[in-house]
Symmetry: C2
Subunit: 160 residues, 2 copies
């Protein structure tokens, strides 16, 4: 990474992964809070059901870390899950995969600009941040679905 | 900041501020997308209207940067805005204030653990991240309100 002499570094790769995994634990609890049928069918304002949003997180997470790490951008290949338990199974497998793959991202790839999936030009860091922010954004929408269903969402501040 | 020899620094304070201000521009557009009455009155699932969420972002932003910077945690003192234009006026004033104050945060305060507002114990970085994540989370909920009102929210990926 090119740093100015005066640059104040505030986050390490390790801290970023920890932050993301904390959010992912909360997202997992949010998925799990939905009754099976509502997860796949309920929505508001013509938006997607939360299962589709959760699946979007999955098709982004490991493929983005692979792409940032290697420069090889491959779309997620697995078949789309059709049950909650299947989503959670893939989710848990990605948790392990992220813990293995993230620490192997070469340092220079965080600042290097690349074209993610041949479409989005950004630094590796910005692309990873986008995945995290997108997860927080849509999970917040899942909270509205849960509230509208009369279900208490998991506490936002709990990440363990 | 105490760093391991092998620590890979991925984000500078400058990049973190830029990231936040990008999100804040999007949040400003989200506030502005609401018709005046809906901003203060519309909600779903028994949740707060979006004006209350936007006000929460305001009472957190500058007070958190002040607290992380100085160790002096002061609640926001201004009177709660009651119109959209008033919210946006305070928002724009905070944008300038953040640009001035954020770069003055002493380096060691990002990693130092403090008790924000005498309540939440975390590093300066974690407290700032919490403010950003909280903004993304609730803004996502504002998107559901807008969709339910038949209003197209601003594109999530545009931050300029």
């Amino acid at each position: 990474m090119v740093t100015e002499t005066a640059a104040v570094n505030v986050m390490t790769a390790e801290a970023l992964l920890k932050h993301w995994q904390g959010h992912r634990r909360l997202t997992r609890r949010t998925i799990d809070a939905f009754p099976e049928d509502k997860l796949f069918q309920f929505s508001l304002g013509g938006m997607r059901p939360f299962a589709d949003m959760a699946w979007e997180f999955i098709v982004m997470a490991v493929p983005i870390v692979d792409g940032v790490s290697t420069g090889n951008w491959q779309e997620y290949k697995g078949a789309k899950a059709t049950t909650k338990s299947e989503i959670l199974r893939v989710w848990d497998a990605q948790t392990v995969e992220l813990d293995t793959k993230f620490p192997k991202i070469p340092q220079h790839r965080f600042s290097e600009v690349d074209k993610a999936f041949d479409k989005w030009e950004a630094s590796g860091l910005a692309t990873i941040q986008y995945a995290i922010d997108n997860e927080i954004h849509h999970r917040g929408q899942g909270y509205v679905y849960l509230r509208a269903l009369g279900i208490q969402p998991p506490p936002f501040w709990e990440r363990d």
